[in-house]
């Protein structure tokens, strides 16, 4: 399975209405200094993986990772609208297979929140998601 952030990246890229393109305005792991308007996905700590009912087998157990999405931009209103669209796009999705991983549910664990204004005066919002996934049996 890929890093959760990579799968989330693909989900966001596939949502054409968001206008996000990897390495242009969509990034993983590190928030670049340019461009000013960016969306960055971070892998954050999740919950312990399933240990029962065959959970020890890598291809049958469920994993519960989390990601944080940080949106940076110039206009507070525009940034909030984008992060809200991202939240609406991901929250409640489930039973989808991405890159060999079956995502049974994705849900927002804390809604869009204003993080700060960075050193360049750009506004940043964050939103957190909990994921539940396992190896897709179709890809085996």
């Amino acid at each position: 399975m890929n890093m959760p952030s990579e799968d989330i990246r693909d989900m966001l890229e596939a949502e054409s209405s968001l206008g996000l393109i990897f390495a242009t305005n969509l990034f993983i792991g590190t928030e670049p200094t340019k461009p000013k308007e960016t969306v960055t996905i971070f892998d954050t700590y999740g919950r312990p993986p399933q240990l029962t009912l065959g959970g020890k087998e890598e291809d049958s157990g469920y994993y519960y990772p989390s990601v944080q999405i940080r949106v940076r931009g110039i206009e507070q209103r525009t940034v909030w609208e984008l992060i809200n669209d991202i939240m609406l796009s991901l929250h409640g999705r489930g039973q989808e297979t991405w890159n060999g991983a079956l995502y049974t549910v994705i849900y927002c664990s804390s809604g869009p929140a204003l993080l700060d204004w960075d050193d360049n005066g750009l506004v940043r919002f964050i939103v957190n998601f909990n994921l539940q996934r396992r190896e897709s049996l179709d890809s085996a």
């Binding site: 919950r47 944080q68 804390s110 809604g111 700060d116």
Partner: protein
């Protein structure tokens, strides 16, 4: 258990309570099933979390120690004692030009507000724990920020992690000290 409102500055906005909803939902649901969750049980649970945030990775990020010192717990009789005896011991942060007295002012305001929440309903035990430093939420949510090395390692989301990984223990602590635990 709720964190109090932080206070507005230019860089660190007044973001109020964000996050923890999913973490706390199941915990609060289970606690609510106990017929009487004693205040003592809730306080013991808060003390346990305080120890966890300082002793097990990821710990509270540490620079001058003001974030760690801004920890507080309130109950119906006001501000509870800090088991680590660090709460309220603020230092001047020369780099950010924040004085110890400024931290103390925030602390007083936050604990006053939290004490009011704890004492609001005498028939319902309410313990509030959190941090009064106005940048606490920023440090908690800022993935990738660099922290002064300390052992064990400090990191973002230390508070949420401490609650999340100890959910079972917290329930047990509260249950053991409750007058009429669920059967």
């Amino acid at each position: 258990m709720k964190r109090p409102r932080s206070f507005y500055t230019k860089r660190y906005p007044n973001t109020n309570v964000q996050g923890f909803e999913a973490v706390m939902l199941n915990l609060n649901t289970t606690i609510a099933k106990m017929k009487i969750a004693s205040e003592r049980g809730l306080l013991e649970a808060a003390y346990f979390i305080r120890h966890e945030t300082e002793e097990k990775a990821d710990t509270t990020p540490l620079d001058y120690g003001n974030l760690r010192a801004s920890w507080f717990t309130t109950w119906s009789k006001g501000v509870a004692k800090d088991p680590l005896r660090l709460s309220g011991r603020f230092k001047n942060n020369k780099r950010k030009k924040l004085t110890a007295s400024q931290f103390q002012t925030w602390h007083t305001q936050a604990t006053a507000e939290a004490s009011g929440m704890s004492a609001a309903n005498p028939r319902k035990a309410t313990v509030v724990m959190g941090y009064s430093a106005n940048y606490a939420m920023w440090v908690h949510e800022m993935i990738g920020a660099e922290y002064t090395p300390r052992g064990p390692a400090a990191g973002p989301k230390w508070f949420e992690k401490a609650i999340d990984r100890n959910r079972g223990k917290l329930i047990e602590i509260i249950r053991q000290t409750s007058k009429s635990p669920i059967k």
